[in-house]
């Protein structure tokens, strides 16, 4: 019997650093790694997204009244201590393009940041660039990584995905182009290494040597790609273009890293995926905060689960798989259990909000300099309704964003809100996906 799951490490922990514990080691981080701390001119605005699958039980989630005095709901209870730091937005729609029925769960994910309904495509890909990637092009100019894609579930064990749609549509929110979904990372150790490098040593000279080596490999490989590319028909060149884009990304990263020449934090490596789901989520949120804090990136998306997730939550008394039970058919017990999962997810989000609030950044805290979305791509999973989706907007948006209210839009495409949020970052697009206008900034207390 093969029982070995080498989940912990191939690696490479210096002996003596020894028995690294998975949690909550990142708290030992020294703050103010951020290079930005030294240049307090204009506060940075960061963009974060936390996605939850399979919609929500709307009766339990959506406040009944609008405005600043809205009464909180059972699902949102865990966020009540942060009431003044987020808004509830309702009436936003992700209605699929007419003539493209089906694949409600796949589209829920893909549309959430691209505003595009992909056509039926089981073995190929066709969506469009997503909002986080559009913003990443701008916000990433100053940071080593343009963006980071995180997840909790692994897409590889999902098996078949939504009918008629290849798995990337449900496995990621982020697309750098119509056929380029960006994979999510769910292993904390791999995320850590992505952020802080793969050298086997903390010795500065060795790190410099390694960087030089990587650069020469990238140069040489780039030449090989152009040689290869010349012999190919255009249709085939796209894959190699992806490869070149990736090379440029790494080169840019090396350049910035060299310029910054920053000291690496002395932190223990996380040891792979923790056994408990809750520990796993918290550790990923810790890494997210660490990435913002050290200004390695300003754009992060994170999926708490995949649409049609078979995840069970026995720790809160729900041993049923999430997706099947979210098709509750109005049976009270299933409705209640689904709502329990929704509230549990919100509780996890509250952990992130709290942590961002507690992490100093410039003249305030990280939360002040964030535009942070929490939401789902469909409302009630039972009916696959893509209208009036659950959507929270948290953070201070670097002075642009207020909290503490519930605003209802009347049948407005989510794309319109995306455009308005992009405006706040100085990224002005005329149109995205199925947008038919913009949301009035004052509705969001934006630009106040």
């Amino acid at each position: 019997m093969i029982v070995l799951k080498k989940s912990l490490s191939r690696r490479t922990m210096l002996r003596g650093l020894g028995a690294a514990v998975a949690l909550p080691l990142l708290d030992s981080m020294v703050p103010a790694l951020s290079v930005r701390a030294a240049t307090p001119a204009k506060p940075v605005n960061r963009f974060g997204v936390v996605y939850v699958p399979n919609g929500m039980i709307m009766e339990n989630y959506l406040p009944k009244t609008e405005g600043p005095d809205y009464e909180t709901t059972p699902t949102l209870t865990a966020l009540e201590p942060f009431r003044e730091r987020f808004q509830v937005l309702s009436g936003l729609n992700c209605t699929p393009t007419p003539g493209r029925p089906g694949g409600a769960h796949a589209k829920a994910t893909t549309r959430f940041l691209t505003d595009i309904s992909p056509p039926t495509s089981e073995t190929w890909l066709d969506a469009g660039i997503s909002v986080d990637q559009i913003l990443g092009q701008e916000l990433g100019k100053q940071t080593q990584l343009a963006s980071l894609q995180l997840g909790i579930e692994s897409g590889e064990t999902a098996g078949s995905c939504d009918s008629g749609y290849a798995c990337p549509y449900t496995n990621t929110l982020s697309w750098s182009g119509p056929s380029t979904p960006l994979p999510t990372q769910n292993d904390p150790r791999q995320v850590f290494e992505r952020l802080f490098g793969d050298t086997r040593s903390t010795n500065a000279n060795e790190r410099v040597a390694r960087t030089r080596e990587q650069k020469s490999i990238l140069d040489s490989v780039t030449q090989e790609v152009s040689r290869l590319s010349g012999t190919l028909p255009p249709a085939d060149r796209s894959k190699l273009t992806e490869y070149l884009d990736a090379i440029r990304g790494v080169e840019r990263r090396i350049e910035i890293a060299e310029k910054e020449n920053r000291q690496l934090p002395i932190v223990d490596h996380p040891e792979g995926i923790p056994a408990s789901w809750e520990d796993h989520v918290k550790l990923m949120f810790d890494l997210e905060v660490l990435a913002y804090q050290s200004d390695l990136t300003r754009v992060i998306t994170l999926m708490l689960g995949h649409e049609q997730s078979g995840m069970t939550y026995p720790q809160i008394g729900v041993p049923d798989a999430h997706h099947p039970i979210s098709h509750h058919q109005h049976e009270p017990e299933k409705v209640a259990k689904t709502a329990q999962i929704n509230a549990y997810h919100v509780k996890m989000f509250a952990y992130l909000v709290d942590k961002l609030r507690a992490t100093p950044d410039g003249d305030g805290a990280l939360l002040d300099h964030m535009t942070l979305i929490y939401g789902a791509g469909i409302a009630d999973s039972n009916s696959h309704a893509p209208v009036n989706i659950p959507f929270l907007l948290a953070g201070g948006g670097a002075g642009n964003l207020k909290g503490g209210r519930h605003t209802h839009f009347k049948d407005v495409p989510l794309a319109n809100l995306h455009l308005t949020l992009m405006d706040q970052f100085g990224v002005k697009w005329e149109h995205i996906g199925d947008s038919n206008g913009r949301v009035e900034p004052s509705m969001l207390a934006l630009g106040a």
Binding site: L8, S9, G155, P168, L182, E213, E224, E242
Partner: protein, 832 residues
Amino acid sequence: MSVRLLKWLSLAAVATGAWSLWADDPATVKSASVTTGVPRVPQAKAIIQQYCLGCHNAKLKTAGLLLDTANVERVGENPDLWEKVARKLRTAEMPPAGRPRPDPSTYRSVAAELESALDAAAAAKPNPGRVPVHRLNRAEYTNAIRDLLALNIDGKALLAADDSDQDGFDNVASILTVSQVLLENYLSAAHAISALAVGDPSLPPSVETYKYSKLLVQDDQMSEDLPFGSQGGGVIRHTFPLNGEYTIKVLLRRQFYDYIMGMGEPHQIDIRLDGVRIKRFTVGGEANGTTMPEGFAGNTQGSPEFEVYMHTADAGLEVRIPVKAGEHEVGVSFITQLWEQEGVLQPRQIGFARTTNENYHGNPAVEFVKIGGPYGSTSPGDSPSRRKIFVCTPKTSAAEEPCAKKILSTLAARAYRRPVRDEDVNALLGFYRSGRAEKDFDTGIERGLERMLAAPSFLFRVESAPINVAPDAPYKLSDLDLASRLSFFLWSSIPDDQLLGLAIQGRLRDPSVLRQQVNRMVRDARSKALVDGFANRWLGLSKLASLNPDTDLYREFDENLRDAMAKETQLFVADQLKEDRGVAELITADYTFVNERLARHYGIPNVYGPRFRRLNFTDGVRGGLLGQASILAVTSYPNRTSVTLRGRWLLTNLLGAPPPPPPPNVPALKDPGQDGQPRSLRERMEIHRQSPVCASCHQRMDPLGFSLENFDALGKWRTQSDGVPIDAAASLPDGTHFEGIAGLRQVVASHKEDFVRTFTEKLLAYAIGRGVELADMPAIRKIARDAAQQDDRWSAIIWGIVNSPPFNMSVSGDGKPVKLAQAGRNGPGEIK
């Protein structure tokens, strides 16, 4: 060949030995006759006129399908359209229910007429389709490193996971994209692998941790590689990078409050290297002082010395030994106690409780094995990787560069799967020189290898059209491209020297050479990739890893069962392939493979130990895929079976007739007993099916699922559910009555043609790494038709695929992917 592959082979070879059916004699291949010329379609024309044109005409344009303007006598002018029509007729989906419909035999004969016309058109003008540039997926990369460098790596730790298509295949070229994350992974992997393979003496010591799940029961012998009479633990295959000293440290399982389990009595624990015992420890039984109260461990503490002991008793389970570079087996196990332990009898710990356990009695178990090193004076030694890499050793400094060139060219030809060009070698030598200048010869080779593993020529499969082919014209793949297609199909890896050599000599198109190679490759242990990469994914078993049964209901579930379920199917499919059975025997076979854990699950007595053995059945329950717990479990919910999921799985994966997705807002299933009457699931589903919207699909899916209701959500046999006896009788929409799994096997067997076609379709998609298109249907029918002459054997289907246009041909030029985006693309646009 690695030890692991040999083991796998010997397991698969349990029953009978011979490979005889994988014969090398091409003379036995009869080819089915296909009529040439333009076949007439008199019946089709009349039937379409009578039943279809009423809606599908230029005026009504129903579903956008116009049959009056298309010429059925020239199907070759619009093959995709007629292929769709043939399929709708083959499955009797059209005309819709309620409209006048032909009788079943007319359906079949008209579909057959259309299909043979389509086949003739395709034979006259093949459309092989085109596979875009193909990135190696994680499994292929891992296997390629194994074959290139004699090094087993843990691909999962090095590379991001690959996405899969709707069928679950993760080798589909158009979905294997490249991202910055992946490129960073490739660079790190190249760095780590080259150092490991060459044996870089500057590798710093590190500790690798292997973990055993808390849900793995360790009460018995855990592996055939551990001695009889051993208990718990396991065997780790670890690559030791250098000759040097290493530490092996064992940490025992803790319960919820971190007390080490089973420390009430002494236990003996052995650490082995390659089967040889290094050291035996005694651990446990030395706790002094006052214990904590039974059942309140952690809540109320015992006396300090007791507490310390219970948390640290395993602190000394560590050895430090010299080990030679290369892969070795590290074994850890206890010695079975032949007496029952004293103490308060505890309930058997189950499921979730095992991870939240307060009980600290029972058997101790291994939770972590940590291997650290190398320490002391180290040297590269003589590892299998070094033997593979260093085909020469320079004696003088003048001999160094020629030797480096030889080493790197030899490796690059294998890695790039073609003869190397000057520019390839020059690029690699550049890196060799910088490494040589920095340190020594070995470092130079290490740098050259690192560059090679980041090369697009290694990471991508790029097929090239001959120069003189017209744009968009079909052409035969070059021998080199064909060799790669073969090796990635049958081995999920790079070609070996023999295959590559034949391709370079231009002999691969010789049918007898080709057949000899295909047979050789299937017999080779590397063809295990067909089981892992194809069968596992075709059957949807990648979900098994994330199976989360509700352990309040399925109390017996443990990791041992999960592993055994996966292994049963692997061994069974491998055996069918090796014995070259007809593929329908995957369903009808009367045998399977079980070990003790699985036998207990199935209620089979007298099977002991971790070894899987073949068992034949006469009761018609187990045997073949349908009675396998793996499949029955992944088609269930965590807390109940689902006739719909099982029915859908059968229709989609075995019969090639997937039902459309369900409409939203389906009405509720009434709970059992809601109106005071106990109801079986069947009764509830039948009420559900009274809705006409639901009925159209559920009357196809549910009967198939009902026949498997005797198996619970983990595939265990049962005779009642919800307090009601199981009724596994069912009838199909066409009136066929059948009952239970035995009846279901007959149903599938009676649709053998559909099954073989579906199997062929899936295997073809996997073989070429792209989704199957309508244009591939003539090829699929031909493969199935020819294979039918040879009892649908695996060899016949594989041979048919290898000889089909989609596999050994391609389309030149810009041949745009058939389907591409009319979709909205996002772009910055103009700001008004």
